[in-house]
């Protein structure tokens, strides 16, 4: 890229610069990814810093000003109990984003680990893939129900009601959504393993651990990125569904999904209450998808520099 500089000086060439600069250079050329990054950062800042600046408590009910429309005092209006919607959106966003990202991380890490191990070590392939099939065949909601029944009390006692539920939900979503990542990754690893550069690395004597981190993982990055960005969206929506069924956070605890489902009853009277959390979820998902898209391109040296 800085061709002129490197060829001008025959000797004492600058040491190869870190490839992360190349990645950033490429990422910057992807307009959608930059916009996504900006929006995602804005949402993140709003939900993390917002509650500190905004005077209203998300659970404070002011019955005299319920069902208020947009105003300077309540920019997003209030709900049927007079709770400020902006405050609830910010508080709910924090929970939704935290659940979404943690669950996605768990699911991607689990899926990648199982996929890579199953693809790379032939002996473990059969058992691990049967395990994956088993999880795919499990009915999700009854399983979650059982998990909540079994562990809710114990976790609430141990970590407090909110953290306990958070751990429970993140784990529940994480361990029920890794299977697709695992299967995709396994397929890619099986194909990669037969490529000559992996053989070349074997002939050098690279042990399996470094073979995986150096040659396999960077080359299965694309499907993992796609899985991860889709995973966030999936996790946010699953959390909403769980809250709706009463299996998630307690009813007065705001999350985007909760707000959405609470407002569905009065969709015709107050459409903005559905639209606002809906837009928040969509924007988050969309921006994360674009970031993932940009990252995937930027991490691939064949696309980089075009």
């Amino acid at each position: 890229m800085n061709e002129a500089v490197t060829t001008k000086r025959e000797f004492g060439l600058p040491p190869p610069r870190s490839q992360w600069w190349d990645v950033w250079d490429q990422f910057r050329t992807h307009k959608g990814a930059l916009a996504g990054l900006a929006i995602f950062t804005a949402i993140l800042l709003a939900v993390v810093i917002g509650p500190w600046l905004w005077p209203y408590d998300p659970t404070y009910a002011d019955l005299r000003s319920r069902n208020a429309g947009f105003s300077l005092v309540h920019p997003f209006g209030t709900d049927q109990l007079g709770r400020d919607l902006l405050a609830r959106m910010m508080a709910g966003g924090m929970v939704s984003l935290a659940v979404g990202m943690t669950a996605m991380l768990l699911s991607v890490v689990l899926g990648t680990l199982i996929g890579v191990v199953a693809g790379y070590f032939r002996r473990l392939d059969g058992p691990l893939m049967r395990l994956t099939d088993l999880f795919l065949a499990l009915p999700l909601l009854p399983l979650l129900l059982v998990m909540v029944m079994l562990f809710r009390e114990a976790l609430s006692r141990r970590f407090g009601p909110e953290t306990g539920i958070f751990i429970l939900i993140v784990t529940a979503i994480g361990i029920t959504s890794w299977m697709h990542t695992a299967r995709i990754v396994r397929g890619e690893v099986l194909a990669l393993k037969e490529r000559e550069f992996v053989l070349a690395s074997r002939s050098i004597g690279t042990p399996p651990r470094r073979m995986i981190t150096r040659h396999i993982l960077p080359n299965v990055m694309s499907p993992i990125m796609v899985s991860a960005t889709l995973g966030i969206a999936n996790a946010i929506i699953t959390e909403s569904a769980l809250s709706f069924l009463g299996l998630g956070f307690p009813p007065d605890f705001p999350t985007w999904g909760r707000l959405l489902f609470d407002a569905v009853d009065q969709l015709q009277l107050y459409p903005s209450r559905v639209i606002l959390p809906g837009v928040a979820i969509s924007l988050t998902v969309l921006s994360v998808n674009y970031i993932g898209d940009g990252l995937r391109d930027a991490l691939d040296p064949r696309i980089r520099g075009r």
């Binding site: 061709e3 490197t6 060829t7 025959e10 000797f11 060439l13 040491p15 190869p16 610069r17 490839q19 490529r195 000559e196 550069f197 053989l199 070349a200 690395s201 074997r202 002939s203 050098i204 004597g205 690279t206 042990p207 470094r210 150096r214 040659h215 960077p218 080359n219 990055m221 991490l299 691939d300 040296p301 064949r302 980089r304």
Partner: protein, 345 residues
Amino acid sequence: MAEAGRPLVRIRELKMHFPIHAGLLGRRIGEVKAVDGVSLDIIEGETLGLVGESGCGKSTVGRCVIRLYDITEGSIAIDGADISRVDQTSLRRLRPKMQMIFQDPHASLNPRMTVAGIIGEPLDEHLALSREQKLARVYELMDAVGLHRAFARRYPHEFSGGQRQRIGIARALALNPKFIVCDEPIAALDVSIQAQIVNLLEELQEAFGLTYLFISHDLSMVRHIADRVAVMYLGKIVELADRERLYADPAHPYTQALLSAVPEPDPEHERHRRHIILKGDVPSPANPPRGCNFSTRCPRVMDICRQIEPEFLEVSPGRFTACHLHGTTAQKNGEQQPSTTQLTH
């Protein structure tokens, strides 16, 4: 040169059978005998050419020799150390001695690593060098194979096939190996680039005292680079001889057929040359024929060929062949050599 040195690589009765699994339970129903009893000595400093048609097992031999596969039977010793049964962890210490150059330069380089990363990988694995030392060594290797130093931080897709093959060669040289398996290093390249790469390999051999096992199906290229040539057919070596003698006077009918297929640049010779056209296909290595492997296609097949497998014998000093025409079993046939003058101008 060939007779003088000591064998660096000694292969005895090497067998590599790949199991065939089928059915619901994946039961083993047979095996592909990719390599079925190969014995070879590769003498220090020489280039041994290994030729044969596609699927005859020559690449598998190459990969077995540096133990990319766990061999089924036989023994392999490199520089006196037996590596045929050693597990991969202990093998790691011996890896620097033996390296490999691969056929497809597009597939043999990790697309996500820079050239410096690719050439530096063996250094990372086997030596504890500082960042500067490593970079200096990488530059040194790039000089040796004729790559510009400024290319160090580029990625493989930015190079042509020939340049990529140079990167692969630099990687193979990184640890100062004694023995390099060249697995059809020129097969995927343009003719004009082939000569460059072959000349580079020859220069490097001279400069670093390398020993090559040069696997190829290109007979004229092997004639150019190899000191001795081994001909393989269906998992077995049928003939092994010095280059000049093998090309001038092939002993085995398969070698004769193979050589008669090499195009002749002189149209006058080409017109009067007798081609030996083999009939039929190569039998499946999963189910090789009884007796001699070549008996199903051999133009000079005898009854004994279909019954008894010929031994791989030294028919004259430095010249080995596995054929009943030359063995003790058919001494009288061995006398009347076919007139090969027509075959090789």
